[in-house]
Structure formats: C-alpha cells, structure tokens
Amino acid sequence: MLSYNFEYYKPKSIKEAIEQYQTSKSQDKKPLYYGGGTEILTLGRLNYIYTDAIIDLKGIPECKEFGFQNNELVIGSTLSLSVFEENKVFPLLTNTSKEVADYSSRNSITIGGNICGQIFYREAVLPFLLSDSTVIIAGPSGVKKFLINEIFNKELRLDEGEFLVQIGTEKEYLKAPYLSVKKRKQWDTGYPLLTVAALKKDGIIRFAFSGVCPYPFRSIQMEKILNDKKLSYKDRVLASFEYLPSPILNDIEGSDGYRLFVLENTLSNILSYLGGEELE
C-alpha cells in the first residue's frame, strides 16, 4: 500500500505522454513514467520512490512493438520480460531475462523498466550492449535514435522528461553464439551475485556484466584481453581484471573478493564454452 495519492494517466501516443509529463511538471508535480510498476509500487510502499503523477506508457503503440523492421528486431519498451521467455527470437535475451526476479514478477516487469529502473542490476540491458543495439528515445526535444553503447553509461542517460520507446537489434546478432551465466549467493533464487552475458561476433567474444559493480557495463578493454589468443584462458581472465571498473560490489550478496573469485571461474567457463582453441 502506498501512503500517498497520485494521478494516473495512460496516454495513447508519444506526444501525449511527453505533453503530460510537461504539464504535470509545470504543476510542480513529480511525474514518473510507468511500465510494469514493480519498482514504483514496491519501493513506493517503503517511501523510497515518490510520485504524484504516473504516466503509464503501455497505451503507446510504439512501446508495444515487437517484430522485424527492415533488418532489425524492434522491441517496444513496455513488453514484459515474460514475452521473451515465450518468444525466443533473440536467445541471449531470452536466457538473460528469464533469470530476472521470478515468473510472476516477469509478467509485470517491462524491458524498459528493467533497463531504466532504480534497482541497479538491469540485467536485461546486457544483450543489447553486446549486440550494439540502437535505442529510440522520446522527449520534449523530439524522438531520437542512439547507439545504446553511446547513451548507456551505468544507466540509460535520459534527460528530464525522456523515456525509452524501443530497442533495435540487427538480425545478424540474434543468432550469434552466446552464453549468459547468472551466479547467485546460493541456489536458484535472488539477485545476481553476478551475471555475465557473452556473445561471439566475427570470432570475437564480447562480454557484459551485471552485479560486479553497482551498475551494468560492457568493457571493450576487457574484451581485448579476453580475446588475446597469446594468453591462456586463466591469464586472459586475470589480466582483464586490471580493467574492471570500480567499485567491485561488496554487500550482503557477497564480498568483493568472493565476487572476483566467482567472476574468474565464470569467465574461464565462458571462454572454454565459446572460445574454441585456447592458444594459437
């Protein structure tokens, strides 16, 4: 139960959504764009999130898009994660997103909400970072397209009043060899101790991480070393650690030292699964 009241809007177009945001803002309200509500409601009841104007994006056709346009798979931001569990057109996305939360929650959690939310794991973004996807972002200054790797830095860098409309991924990435590994503190339930998603493109394995740092990331520098065939798998992994961003998470899910231990094992396993010949 939320102890505060809020206005609820369900605009039917991008334009209407943005205008509503501006209007609420001009009335000194704290509008929030709303996808599945799993964060706004559960954190709202603890007063970690406050809003008095909710703008539900699920009525906007573009946000519900799912299919191929030209050479691209287009995914609307308000599709729930369970959609990708059923439809395996992008297997890496299927495998990464089906480990988020639990089945009932995934019926509500939207892909846009997972990527743009406060809970910092944002695992659904990993496949898109690896596949050099594009994002369509709408805001007061219009609708724009960006490369996700340019606009996603720890989080999707949205300006005031902007929201994620769609994500576009080129077909050639969809069937690329991949592996997504989620390690938890214990057994099969809970947030990631860490999640590593990997995708092999043109003989090079790309890596993106969640739960290692308090934000998801893809590191080109680490990828370079992890693909350095002059080094053994183990050496590659250890050398790549030089380029790990900071801080390494140290919390109730696990200490930083333990996370590095698990990361070392996980990367080694991914390399042996996707890497082919260890040494040239």
Binding site: S3, L46, N47, Q186, W187, D188, T189, I252, E253, N265
Partner: protein, 773 residues
C-alpha cells in the same frame, strides 16, 4: 475400524485449497480502525524527540500513541515496554502507533512522525554481550519482575543462566584419550510464515476485551492481557481462526498488546494491527542466534566420557521467550548420547538484535548443529565412521539425560534402529564421498537428533465433544490449526474411539477462549499427546453416557452394550440395538416422553511428573519423552566453485506410532525443508548500527519450491506407552538435524571445518582461502 495411521484428508483441506479459509487479517469490518507503527531504524539509540504535530493534522487520525505510561511486559522477565520509552534496543522496535480511519491515513500519518534518535554503541553478538567493555543494555535488570525459574545476572547482559552439572567432570577428562573442541556461531534469522502476524482488539462497554489474533497461544494472550493491564481475566476473550504458518513465531504475545493499547486510546473501538512483511521480520520476534563452544572427550575406542559446552544465545533486546530457549538448549545440551559427565552453561544474552521467539525445534537444531558437527570432528580424529561412533554412544533405555532423567523404552525412542534404517536409505556402504566427474563429487552427511519438550509443569489440554441430531460428533479443542493437521488427527482419534465414520466427525477449527476448552499453547509438538489424551477421555466419557442411556432404553446392563457402525447394541444379540442419533439428544419413547438429554463428552490431560530444574545442577524432568531420529543429507558439490546442490534429505524418526501417514510425512518434509533453508541460506545480516540489512523477501530467502531436494521420510515405531496409541511428538523433529547434517556433509566435501551458518558457498571459499594461506 483402522482409521489410526491412515492418510486421512485434512479437515481443513477444502477451505484451504479453494481459498475460502479465513485468517485473522481477513476480518475486514466496516467500522474498524487501522493501526500503523513507527519503528526504530537503529539497533540502539536514545529517543531524543518525537514530533507528532504533522501527523496529528492528517485527516482521519484518531490517536497517536508514544511510549510512557505503559507496563513492562515479558513472559519470564518483564523488561520490555510494548512501545519504546526513552530508548530503542533493536531495529524495528515500536516507537509509536497511529490509529486512523483507513490504513492509508494511518500509514501517511505514521510516515509524518519525526523521531530524533541519538545512536548508541551496539552489541552485535552474544560474545560481545558478555564482554564487560560493551554497554549494559538493561541497567535495571535487578528491578524487573520475573518468574522464579529464570536466573538473570544484574550488572551484566546475562538474562538467564542455566547450569547442567552431571557426573564428575574431572573423572570424565581423566578417562578421555581423545579430546576435540570446536567453536560455532550463527546470527538470528526468521520464521517468515506466509501469514504475517495480525491482531484485532475491542474493549466493549461491559469491559469485555475481545481480541482476535493469529496466534499459537490465545489462552496465554488472555492471561497476559489480564496480568499486564489489570483486566479481569474472565473478561478477556480471544479468538483465533486458522493460522497461516507459525513455526513458534506466533507463540509470543506482542501485537495483541499493541491492539489493546490502541483500542484503549480510541475509547475501545475495534482496531486492527497488521504487520507488513518488513515488520513481521524486524519488529516481531525472530529465530534465535547462537555462539557455542563444544568440547568432547572419549576413549580410544570412541566411548564418550565427557561433554563440556558453553552456549551463548543471541536472545536479542528483550528476554521474552529467549530465556526459555536458553533453558531448553541446556536440557538437551548434547546430542542423543549416553554421557555420564556433562558440564554446560547455557546463557541467554541481551544484544541489540530483534528479540527471539520460539522457532520450530525450540533451541534443539541450534544446539545440535554445534554438537553434531563436533561429533564429526571427533569421528575424524578417531578414524571411526561417524554413524558407527553415534551408534556406539546412542542413548538407550537405562541411560540418563543431561538433566539426570532415567530413561526407559517408553520415554526414549530407539536410536540404534533409526541409525541402521538411515544407513540403508543412504546406501552408507558405498562411502560418504563419491566422485561424479572431474568437477563434482557427491557427499553424504548425517546427524542424530533428540528432543523433549520443555513445557510448563502444569500445562494442560481440554476437549469437549458435542453431538448433532444426526448422531455425528463435534470436536472442540483449544489446539490451533497452524498447518500441522493436528485437529484432523484428533478427529481420527474420536472416530476410532466412537467407531464412527471420519466424515461424521466434525472439527471446530476456530478457537474462542470463552467457549473452547483450554489447550495451553499449540507448541512443542505436544498437541497430539495432550489434546489426543483429552480427546480419548472425552470420547470415553461420551461413550459411557451413551451406553448408560442405552442400557435403560434397551433394558440391559451397561457391560453388555457394545458399539459399532454408529449404533449401540447388545453384545449377545446385535439385532437389539439403537442408533446414535436416537440417543445423543436423549431418547424419546413412542409416547413422546423423553429420558436423558444432550450428550457432552469431556476430557482433559495434564502431563504428570514434570518438574522444574535444580538451579545448581539442572536436575529435573523437563518433558514427558524424548523423540529420537537419524537424518542425512546428500549434496552434489562443485570442487572448483564451492557451490552445491542438495539432492536428497532423509529423516528416520522414531514416531512411536504414526497416526496419519500423510500429515506425518508432511510435517517431516516441511521441517526438513525449513532446516535446510536455515542451514543453507537464511540469516539476518547486520550493519554497525545493528540494522538488519535484509528484512524483505528480495533479500531474505527461504527455500523456494524447485530448490528442494528429494525428501525421504521413514518412521520407526517404539511406542510411548502413555501417549495416544503410542505416538510421540514429531512436528519439529524433521528440522533438528538438517543444519548439522548439511554442515557435516559440506565439511567433508570441502575438507575444511564449516562451523558457521548459513552454509553458503562464500563461507566455503573463505575457509578454503584461509587454509591455502
């Protein structure tokens, strides 16, 4: 009739599977007022100021209650204000209540109350609590009212000390060739019952205090409300409908007091106090933690000669039931072994953690984790198979317990038989470690368990049977249906005694303390024994009345009247008989005149010969019998990543007699599941302010369906002679050895001693790293 032992469908099954079952929080009456709490964000702090001015202005607010002018409460030591006064001693402690027309208004107002705290140094473990350098949490300990069986030590943080002094310690060490000593620790955790706690209260114009509560102990609520607030005890009426999981956590009385206080503040109007999940974890009492040292000595051949233990219980900020837990931990301070010389100090320590309530097993799984892990260390040092070591030392009729009770084959089950059954079920000859592939090994670990139930010496239970015009019977008992199926077992007992179809035995699930005969508390795996005996007596009482009436109607001596198929008849000529339905409301002759009247069967039972413990030696009889068992766990362990999957969990329990196969298996499996979650994952994480960092299901994770292993339950049947059909308590026993068996299993697999809980892969990693350095 052979209804005893059958897997009869539970009487509460249909309403539960259809969602029609009513729990306390489901009573949503229109004129009810809603109570929300303000709770402490710190583990230890002075309350400098509480500003309620903003909250008072919130629409719909009827009352705001802060500490002061309230009595000290607590079951054994009265050390706790229901609402904190001047100081908070744990994260989640109630600081204020808001009563308002709607839950939302109450919450908004509660959120608007501004409290200024001055954080104080925190005691985050029992070991710190005993260190004089740390603050004294209850400087007024000497002034608190207490019961005579609790022994606090004013000027320290010791809320209770129970001493066990059996045999001759010096002799024990002299006779020992091999000695091991191990230390253990784990933090408090929680029960996380599916139904969060909830209480309603109303004070009526005629001074009746009517409470509804999700409780295991409505009759205790009645007593305590009367004691604490000076209400005439007969004016306190407590209702308890079905309870959605309790596990000991609902044996403590807490929200009921808040509901009473809140109702009083609004002129007795009906109020409801419901815990959010976070409050249920933080504010309401939790599962106790422990720091333990266990030292064992034995001969070269493995015969135990001495056990010396120090248990420092993490009782939390207030004593309540924690002192009782520390006493129960002393009563069965060892595993189920014959040990002549025992020394144990079991201390309940005050800390700045949420305070403890009972938790399924009542201090036994905690003690057994420490003791049974040490037994494995001993077996390793001796080079003797761990099950063989246990078999060799198994407690037997003729031996005595740590509190010097001489056992016989009725008062203790057959442990050697449980061990030999376990060996078969675990394919023990195959060995404890089996290589599966280069990365994975399968490992087996075991533990032996026992438990008696330390209950009040005069705790009793009553059962009333009434009849319906069709001859069917109603069973009315104060046992709470907390999910254990006990009331179905009572129905089976009545069905068997009256030779009546089980479908004609109706059970009243709800308890009302005014109209339901008292059952002390639905705790301690004692409901089947106590209420079962009462049910037998009630059935016999009813039957005698029926026979007496029949003897008049049938014009034959009572001794000649027999019973079957819901009628009574002459044993010499079964054709001459009369059905129940013509007798249970009195018999009406053809001319209309009647004889007799309603048949009301009465039964009661109090366990005889339970005594208090001697304060110096611990000698005394704390409970009626000891259920024993042997348990095992098999895991697949990854030798590189230190992760593991539990593939199988096995319990062989001497049940005495299984009264309902399905519910008995359900109890054992459910308890194993809980024990594995406690052993493998569940714990509170505290920060330096004593704050619990994981008071939500996001981060506090019980075992989820699908993570469970295969469960195997096997029963041995050594009857307890004075129990109904010989049945021993078994509601808790499936849990008792699980943390220890898992710890033994993983210690063997990893090759390092794992003496902390929960047994997460990171713990193994730490141990491995330590051993490599």
């Amino acid at each position: 009739m052979d209804i005893i032992g059958k897997g009869v469908t539970r009487k509460d099954a249909w309403e539960k599977v259809t969602g029609q079952a009513i729990y306390t929080g489901d009573h949503k009456e229109t004129k009810i007022l809603h109570v929300k709490k303000v709770i402490s964000p710190y583990g230890h702090a002075n309350i400098k100021n509480i500003d309620i001015t903003k909250a008072e202005k919130v629409a719909g607010v009827r009352a705001i209650i802060t500490g002061g002018n309230l009595p000290l409460t607590g079951e054994e030591i009265r050390d706790r204000y229901p609402i904190a006064q001047d100081k908070v001693r744990y994260h989640g402690e109630v600081v204020a209540l808001v009563v308002a027309d709607t839950p939302k208004q109450a919450k908004f107002a509660a959120d608007s109350i501004q409290v200024i705290y001055e954080p104080l140094p925190v005691i985050n473990s029992p070991i710190d609590a005993i260190n004089p350098k740390y603050p004294l949490l209850h400087p007024d300990l000497d002034t608190y009212k207490k019961i005579s069986e609790v022994f606090p030590e004013p000027g320290t943080n010791i809320a209770n000390r129970t001493k066990i002094r059996k045999g001759d310690i010096k002799k024990g060490w002299q006779e020992s060739d091999i000695i091991v000593e191990e230390k253990f620790s784990f933090s408090p955790s929680d029960h996380v019952a599916m139904e969060t706690r909830c209480s309603l209260a109303e004070i009526r114009a005629d001074n009746k205090v009517v409470i509804s509560s999700s409780s295991q102990a409505p009759f205790m609520i009645k007593r305590l409300i009367s004691d604490y607030f000076g209400v005439e005890i007969g004016n306190v009426i407590v209702n308890t409908p079905l309870v959605g999981g309790a596990f000991g956590g609902k044996a403590s009385v807490q929200l009921e007091l808040l509901a009473y206080i809140a109702s009083k503040a609004v002129n007795g109007r009906l109020v409801i106090v419901e815990n959010s999940r976070e409050e249920d974890i933080l504010t309401s009492p939790c599962h106790i933690g422990l720091d333990a040292t266990v030292k064992l000595g034995c001969t070269k051949s493995g015969l135990l000669k001495i056990a010396e233990m120090t248990y420092l219980w993490d009782g939390g900020a207030y004593a309540d039931k924690a002192t009782d837990l520390s006493r129960a931990g002393a009563v069965d301070c060892t595993g189920p072994y014959n040990i002549e010389n025992i020394w144990c100090d079991s201390l309940c320590m005050y800390t700045n953690h949420p305070y403890a309530s009972p938790y399924r097993g009542f201090a036994h799984s905690e003690v057994l984790f420490a003791f049974e892990r040490t037994m494995d260390s001993l077996s390793k040092k001796l080079g003797i198979d761990p099950l063989e070591l246990r078999e060799m030392n198994a407690i037997l009729p003729g031996n005595s317990t740590p509190t010097q009770v001489q056992l016989n084959s009725s008062t203790v089950g057959n442990l050697p038989k449980c061990i030999s059954e376990l060996k078969k079920k675990m394919n023990w000859e195959e060995g404890q470690l089996v290589k599966i592939n280069d990365n994975t090994i399968r490992a087996k670990g075991i533990a032996c368990v026992w438990k008696t139930s330390t209950i009040d010496t005069n705790a009793g239970s009553g059962v009333i049977l009434t009849f319906n015009p069709d001859g069917s019977v109603n069973v009315i008992s104060g046992v709470i249906e907390i999910g254990t199926g006990t009331k179905t077992v009572l129905a089976q007992i009545v069905s068997e005694k009256l030779k009546m179809d089980i479908d004609h035995v109706k059970v009243q699930m709800e308890v009302n303390t005014q109209s339901t005969p008292e059952h002390w508390k639905t705790v301690a795996s004692r409901a089947t024994l106590m209420a079962g005996r009462a049910a037998i007596q009630a059935a016999e009482d009813a039957l005698l009345q029926i026979k007496q009436l029949a003897s008049i109607v049938l014009r034959a001596p009572v001794e000649d009247i027999d019973l079957g198929q819901e009628r009574v008849y002459l044993r010499g000529d079964p054709e001459i008989g009369i059905p129940f339905n013509q007798l249970v409301y009195g018999y009406k002759y053809p001319d209309g005149s009647a004889i007799g009247g309603q048949i009301i069967g009465r039964g009661q039972y109090t366990i005889p010969h339970i005594t208090n413990l001697d304060p110096e030696t611990g000698a005394g009889k704390p409970g009626p019998e000891w259920t024993v068992g042997a348990q095992g766990v098999e895991v697949e362990y990854d030798i590189n990543e230190y992760t593991y999957k539990i593939v199988r969990a096995i319990s062989v329990i001497d049940a005495g007699k299984v009264l309902n196969q399905k519910t008995a298996e359900g109890q054992i499996m459910g308890a194993m599941s809980m024990g594995l979650a406690f052993g493998g994952r569940e714990t509170f994480y505290f920060d330096n302010f004593g704050r619990v960092l994981n008071p939500q299901f996001r981060t506090y994770r019980p075992l989820r369906y699908g993570e469970n292993p295969e469960y195997i339950c096997e029963f041995v049947n050594t009857p307890q002679l004075d129990a109904p059909y010989g049945a021993r308590g078994l509601g808790e026993h499936g849990l008792l050895g699980m943390p220890a068996a898992l710890g033994n299993c993983l210690s063997l697999a990893a090759g390092i001693p794992l003496n902390q809980l929960p047994l997460i892969p990171e713990l193994i990693w730490r141990g491995k790293k330590g051993s490599r350095l």
